[in-house]
Symmetry: C2
């Protein structure tokens, strides 16, 4: 989440505001995969560009684990634009001259949408771990209700990277009649044992922090900072490639000429990671981290061939699947597995692996061939290119 | 550390005992790379086989991060043999019919040798973080004093995997006249930024545990269990390959048929990791983990070409360097870098990459070609093979 528009690129969407809408109520709750239900449900969302009269130009962005609805532009008073600002705006890859772009903070989130930090109406206290488990399909179901609210029947495209890519795939499966095209970036059809293992250690770090209080840390005026920082630091290593880390830091020392022979950070990479951890803790809720990682673990829309056949039968959208050469969190081989599955079921699929040394984080970064290909794919959907 | 002799292999070294010896005193301390000195220094060690009359058949094993001096055989009353038992004994790869095998717990350790849990003679309390920083060269210097004590002038071979391989390399550099051959397994000449990053997160997990008490947890009758368990769980993922984890666990559920929709472990890989973490905490000291990871970070015997030339000039031993195809903690490419450096300096080097799906942990496991090649190399040194 480090890509930022630079001052030399003033052409973005400019000042933006988040909006919120209550989509489900206690009386008319959202039904969840677990069998539980959730209400009220508020979603925070942002939109950029104009919805055309026929309501046919909507592009939905699905955010990743640490993202939120603030994809592009500046909030008043902020210096940092949204997390994918360089991709969105007039003339950019996701061109707001042609598309109506929207993104919502997913349910379970901590940036304006209903999540574990919200007040449980039955107790008057924050949900904490009494928040029901939400799956990727639940997240998508809530997004579909937002589209209903906005009068959008069909999406020109649904786009996401990482767990956002899982949401995009789920959209194509669960709402085949509402999806024209689906862009799945640096994602996978299911987590591997190693993916689950890293998530499990993250959760262990958070849940064993004494400031966690069984998820009721808000009531104790506490934050499980140490555990969340450790979780983020570890995850951050997996978002970068070995090569990228080596190029950026190598064995350079941090603000010193000689080894300290002590336990302060000696190496620049140590300071960098500690900074990433402490920064994350200021903006992200630990319980949301638990819920989102669990939703990723659970995601498995095609556990076997018969379920794949059944799930894919009604799907007619155009898929664009892409991956990055140095991504080891979700390797290209995992994207190719998904592509092969889609092809076996005679779906329309384009696939591209982009060269990048930036690992999984590449999906957020200015990799020129990636940006250009995404732009071409979406411009074509808008009828700008044939 | 999971390789165990099976009941069908009763031919090992049998019952063994650890011994201890005080090698340095407060009056005659061990000089350390940091400029500090350490005394008294006790080393715990084990030996298997017989030292021949000429004292020319000694093979030194250097243990890795979580290892100790108990390499082979059974301690009275124990059911589990030493950590490399399958490799050591009459007729085995490190054949005790021909070699006198020894291993010592390194300084800074927690299994009988002087380390941060030892009593600081100047305060009468455990050292904790007042224990001086020890480097790989310091560890080796203490091992050399043990050889002096045992009357061993020259080693037939020094062998180690992972940080044990770093010690083996350091032996060849610092005591060239005392090393006939050097076996460096699944190791590297220096940690990469990613390696350092994982170590840094491990230390962060331990040092931010409220039960850490600035390293004085013994005085508080506490143990930073949570942090040490998280550190171990994370490290454990890096010791295994993605493929190995996938083959062993995949997405299998643990003792359940359906997802729990809660935060208990759903997947078998989660339970496995939690078990590894809790088991490790029972046997390993958190401060030692800090010191050993820092020693690994600092290891860099050839920061540039001139130092390599100077360090390697007097070295005459035969090197055998090996790596494992699925090891991503210390990839084969890192071993090959070391091999190229040694070759450029006209050293005698054999190198082999062994196919294994078990990742970094392969060095501890029964990979038949690896075991056979190691046996051949060592049998030749003993004059059994030509």
């Amino acid at each position: 989440m480090s890509e930022q528009a630079t001052p030399t690129e003033p052409s973005g969407v400019g000042l933006v505001e988040s909006q919120t809408v209550e989509l489900f109520t206690a009386a008319r709750p959202l039904a969840l995969d677990s069998g539980a239900s959730l209400g009220p449900v508020t979603l925070a969302y942002e939109t950029y560009g104009e919805l055309n009269a026929a309501h046919t130009n909507a592009v939905l962005i699905c955010h990743a684990l640490s993202g939120d609805a603030h994809v592009a532009g500046l909030h008043a008073g902020d210096e940092r634009p949204g997390w994918w600002d360089g991709f969105i705006g007039p003339g950019r890859a996701i061109d707001t001259n042609h598309h109506f772009v929207l993104c919502s903070n997913v349910i379970g989130g901590c940036s304006g949408s209903t999540g574990p930090a919200s007040i449980d109406p039955t107790t008057g206290k924050p949900y904490g771990l009494h928040f029901p488990m939400v799956t990727v399909a639940d997240m998508v179901r809530a997004q579909a209700a937002l589209l209903d609210h906005l009068g959008i029947r069909r999406l020109r495209s649904v786009i996401g990277g990482s767990v956002g890519g899982m949401q995009a795939l789920q959209w194509a499966l669960d709402f085949p009649e509402r999806v024209e095209s689906c862009v799945i970036i640096a994602a996978t059809g299911r987590l591997s044992a190693q993916n689950i293992a890293f998530n499990a250690v993250s959760r262990q770090a958070i849940m064993t922090d004494p400031e966690f209080f069984d998820g009721r840390y808000q009531e104790h005026d506490a934050v499980p900072r140490r555990g969340l920082a450790v979780a983020r630091m570890m995850a951050h290593i997996t978002y970068l490639s070995e090569e990228g880390l080596q190029d950026k830091f190598g064995r350079a020392l941090q603000d010193r000429e000689h080894l300290s022979y002590g336990f302060d950070p000696d190496f620049a990479v140590e300071s960098y990671l500690a900074y990433q951890g402490s920064k994350f803790v200021q903006r992200f809720d630990a319980n949301t981290y638990l819920y989102f990682t669990k939703a990723m673990d659970y995601f498995d829309p095609f556990p076997d061939d018969p379920t794949a056949t059944a799930a894919l039968a009604p799907v007619e959208c155009d898929f664009f699947v892409c991956s990055f050469s140095s991504d080891w969190r979700f390797q290209s081989s995992r994207s190719k597995e998904l592509v092969r599955l889609l092809l076996r079921h005679r779906k329309h699929v384009a696939y591209q692996e982009f060269a990048s040394s930036q690992g999984h984080d590449s999906f957020l970064l200015d990799v020129p061939a990636y940006k250009a290909t995404l732009k071409t794919f979406l411009d074509r959907r808008a009828g700008i290119l044939q």
